[in-house]
């Protein structure tokens, strides 16, 4: 018999001792491999909040940028987004059971029996305090002296909150201001308890808000400065305990996990099956995959995942659920650097890059090869553009002959070794820039580099050390060709503002855009106008116009922008991301399925509010 090696022996002794110590308490329920099943109600639901990594010392305050607070569990809103591109104002109910919009604002009906976890009811004071806090955080106005302007953007402008009795609350929009998304922005604001947060605000907060909305610019400026200072106090505030109106309330947080217990006072407590929720910290994708391989998570968020990992997690019993994601990975050009200022060059590159092959390597699980480039994700353009408009789009299917013809037409030549030369006779090489840590972009860059090199344009993939440096250098115009995210969000105006906005030298005031090619943030340097179907259009102006046009009237503008983007290719969309999440039907069942996009746009806490996720 051999003696145990010292290290193994030491580990074994320490493990046994620690396990014995851990097991000493009969009162503490020890979890094993994730949560335990519910048998109808009860059990521990284990998951990860990818938007909020748990951090030792971070406060339980949703207004902190990195709080130990979790949307849909203990962080509540009046409503939750459906991420519906055809109606961005469509929402699932939250603390508001229903609502009606008018030109003056919004009237909401609070959920009957809406209470905080200390048993006190949710009142108009809570809503008023929460919306005032939004002003201090920069997520609400101010729009000083807007005077009848239709306002674009992410900020709402509330001027008053009135109690109509019986749980009915009127929320007024700043007179003279019309934000197309007022309803969505107000309803998706975080609602906190006035009892906990009210003391952090000055008594004259609504006087300050009135001042920033007023016509006296000096007073508005002074009030805005005060609001910003108050915002810092609010963001840094660390409540001693969590008081939540959500389905769960935070019991404790350690540096690796957060424990939330079911809120017995939640207005729909009978729908909530898990007795507890444990949210785990993670240091990277690999750790989430490790948890999944061990069947430890009941819900796993999106991670950029290769096929072999997908097979492993499916093998561990997980179900893949797909929902739309309004983000697209693209190759963008700096048109100040020749030859990328030439439209035929960008078109030729689009004909060479095989987007299907690139997606299979770069983002095989969480991506779908972009059907073409429009500036929107496929599902969005499909729902907005007519059949004829879609048919008129160039899909840029792989066609190297067409690419060669386009380049020859632009004065490029090919030498005896098959390498392309610029019109001035210089050899043409491409450096495709990507970022350290973005594994999908890096893998995809290798394929694109191979394809372009085989076509006769020697291409190398260069990696910038970190994302901050990449952002800085891209903005400074240092890269001729590099990866970029486009088509952000279900709102088409947001998607086009990403392309024809500040990164392209446009600034927008009151729905009017001005273009400045020398603007410091302008690294795209596209021309101010395009000629599309014989018509001259200003894409920046159209994007600005889109932002102040009701959704029902946006289609003609979107069609023009999609056609212009498809023809001019300021960037080439490679793949559209898919929001792939995983559920484990082992301890809990009745999870939303692929196709239930409105639910899947939200975290599992919101599913539970709607009666989903029941213990087995």
């Amino acid at each position: 018999m051999s003696r145990p090696k010292p290290l193994v022996a030491a580990i074994a002794v320490a493990t046994i001792a620690a396990t014995a110590l851990s097991a000493c308490s009969g009162s503490s329920a020890k979890k094993s491999n994730g949560g335990s099943g519910g048998g109808g109600t009860g059990g521990v639901f284990t998951s990860i909040d990818a938007n909020n990594k748990i951090t030792a010392g971070a406060p339980m305050n949703p207004f902190n940028a990195a709080p130990n607070m979790f949307l849909g569990y203990n962080q509540m809103q009046l409503g939750f987004t459906k991420n519906d591109p055809s109606d961005p104002n469509a929402l699932l109910p939250g603390l508001a059971a229903s609502w009606t919009a008018s030109d003056a604002g919004l009237t909401i009906q609070l959920q009957p029996g809406a209470k905080w976890s200390d048993g006190t009811p949710v009142t108009v004071a809570d809503i008023k305090t929460s919306l005032a806090i939004a002003y201090t955080q920069g997520t609400a106005g101010p729009v000083a002296s807007a005077g009848g302007t239709v306002v674009a953007g992410s900020n709402f402008e509330v001027s008053d909150v009135k109690d109509l009795g019986g749980g009915k609350i009127e929320i007024d929009q700043q007179p003279g201001v019309k934000n197309l998304y007022f309803q969505r922005l107000v309803l998706t604001s975080t609602i906190v308890s006035d009892k906990v947060y009210g003391g952090q605000l000055p008594a004259d907060i609504w006087t300050q808000i009135a001042a920033v909305q007023g016509t006296d610019q000096a007073a508005a400026g002074a009030a805005a400065t005060k609001l910003a200072a108050e915002g810092k106090t609010i963001a840094a505030f660390a409540p001693a305990k969590d008081v939540s109106a959500g389905p769960f309330v935070e019991t404790r947080v350690n540096p690796g996990e957060a424990l939330l217990d079911r809120n017995q006072y939640f207005y729909a407590a009978s729908k909530i099956s898990p007795k507890q929720v444990i949210l785990r910290s993670y240091s990277g994708n690999q750790q989430i995959w490790g948890y999944m391989n061990g069947g430890e998570l009941d819900f796993a968020p999106y991670t950029s995942m290769p096929t072999n990992i997908l097979n492993q997690v499916l093998g561990a019993g997980y179900t893949r659920v797909d929902a739309p994601s309004y983000v697209s990975a693209s190759i963008a050009f700096n048109e100040k650097q020749a030859p990328y200022n030439l439209t035929p060059v960008r078109q030729a590159l689009a004909y060479v890059i095989d987007r299907d092959a690139v997606t299979k390597v770069g983002e095989p699980v969480g991506g779908i090869a972009a059907p073409t480039t429009t500036g929107l994700v496929g599902s969005q353009s499909d729902s907005i553009l007519s059949g004829d408009q879609k048919a008129a789009l160039n899909p840029y299917k792989v066609d190297t002959a067409k690419a060669a013809s386009l380049l020859q037409g632009a004065g490029f030549t090919k030498d005896g070794s098959g390498k392309w030369h610029l019109p001035n006779g210089q050899p043409w090489t491409i450096t495709l820039q990507t970022v350290n840590g973005f594994s999908d972009w890096i893998a995809a860059s290798t394929i694109i580099a191979n394809e372009l090199t085989q076509f006769g344009i020697p291409t190398t993939a260069a990696i910038t050390a970190d994302f901050a440096t990449y952002q800085k250098e891209m903005a400074a115009g240092k890269y001729a060709v590099g990866w970029w995210l486009v088509a952000l969000g279900p709102q088409t105006d947001k998607a086009y503002a990403r392309i024809y906005g500040s990164a392209d030298g446009y600034s927008v005031t009151g729905g009017q855009a001005t273009h400045n090619d020398a603007a410091p943030t302008n690294w795209e340097h596209t021309p101010a106008t395009y000629t599309v179907n014989g018509q001259s259009i200003d894409p920046g102006q159209l994007a600005a116009q889109l932002s102040v046009t009701p959704v029902s009237g946006q289609a003609p503008i979107v069609a023009q922008l999609a056609a212009a983007t498809n023809q001019e290719l300021p960037m080439i969309q490679i793949w559209n991301y898919t929001h792939v999440v995983f559920t484990l039907d082992k301890r809990f069942t009745n999870f939303p399925k692929t196709g239930q996009d409105a639910l899947l746009a939200n975290p599992p806490g919101v599913w539970m509010m709607q009666g989903y996720v029941q213990g087995k």
Binding site: A14, A50, A65, G138, A235, G256, G290, P301, T469
Partner: protein, 330 residues
């Protein structure tokens, strides 16, 4: 003033000057890094699946805590606050005092690194003595090879190996975190047991990482002492082997004390790789996150802590050396 007090005062003064130099250097260095806190985070929020509105709102919060004053004025303010022990407020944790974040992360670096350091020192020194004394035997050779081998393995490989063996394959120990959330933190047996259980793998990783270094250093030192005349003389005079071993040990361990003292200082830097692998939220993890988010105050605070601890450890090592080695006092 005694000689000791004079030496102490001199070293403290030198230490203060060094802290100021390093503080100044790191302040300008961290601000010279490309990218701004808000710009960096927006795209990362989008990549993590957050909606553009949520991302904008979060970035807005971060911008509120990013100073736009000229750099020299920021530096003046920083030094002023520092003189009062205030390290400022975090940007990425909007307004949370940096000292609070550091204090929260500190135990999760000190506990495993200190334990790992002491365990590795103990095992390494003993193994080093054996390897030196039995250097002509198979055991001596094996020990030396084990030291060289372990010393050459990168931290992340070692950590992953431990994770795969003791968690994935054998499921003996937890893979991440500091304790089981089901236990109420405090001086209660289940919680402490859980903390110990979660610390085993990180401690082993730290211990294994430095074990080879101690072993090889101790072996080399012992071999050198073995060749000294006083050892030969003690052998010839028939002094008992136990006493001779004490002579050897006391003389050979002296150089290692300096390294040990400095290691206590370096300890505060944690280890990015080990903390990352075991998701152990110590100072290394905090520093890494702060660099990624360009959280200048947290970066500066963490660097300051590391600098001060190394300088203090250096001073203590110097002072202790004068106590344990009479030759230095002359």
């Amino acid at each position: 003033m005694t000689g000791f007090a004079r030496r102490l005062a001199g070293k403290l003064l030198t230490g203060l000057v060094m802290v100021w130099v390093v503080v100044t250097f790191t302040f300008f260095l961290v601000h010279a890094l490309p990218g701004k806190p808000g710009d960096v985070q927006y795209e990362q929020y989008i990549m993590s699946g957050m909606s553009s509105e949520q991302a904008s709102a979060k970035v807005q919060q971060v911008y509120g805590f990013t100073s736009h004053a000229p750099l020299l004025s920021q530096y003046g303010g920083y030094l002023g606050r520092l003189a009062h022990g205030d390290l400022g407020q975090s940007i990425s944790y909007t307004g949370v005092p940096v000292t609070h974040l550091i204090w929260s992360a500190l135990p999760w670096t000190v506990i495993p690194v200190l334990s790992g350091l002491l365990v590795s020192f103990l095992f390494g020194v003993v193994a080093g003595i054996v390897a030196a004394v039995k250097r002509s035997s198979r055991w001596g050779g094996l020990l030396t090879v084990s030291g060289s081998l372990v010393a050459g393995v990168p931290a992340f490989v070692l950590a992953l190996l431990l994770l795969v063996v003791f968690h994935t394959e054998w499921n003996l120990l937890p893979d991440a975190g500091t304790s089981d959330i089901q236990y109420n933190p405090g001086w209660n047996v289940p919680y402490i047991g859980s903390v110990v259980q979660h610390a085993v793998l990180p401690v082993c990783a730290y211990a294994l990482l430095s074990y080879g270094g101690w072993l090889l250093a101790m072996k080399s030192s012992v071999v050198s002492v073995l060749g000294d005349d006083f050892i030969l003389a003690s052998e010839l005079r028939g002094i008992a082997p136990v006493t001779r071993a004490r002579y050897i040990g006391r003389n050979a361990i002296l150089p290692l004390f300096t390294v040990l003292a400095l290691s206590f200082g370096v300890m505060f830097a944690g280890s990015f790789f080990i903390e990352d692998t075991f998701d152990y939220p110590g100072l290394g993890d905090l520093l890494l996150k702060s660099i990624g988010t360009r959280d200048y105050p947290v970066m500066a605070g963490a660097f300051l802590l590391i600098t001060v601890s190394i300088i203090v450890a250096n001073i203590l090592a110097d002072l202790c050396y004068t106590l344990i080695d009479p030759r230095v006092r002359r």
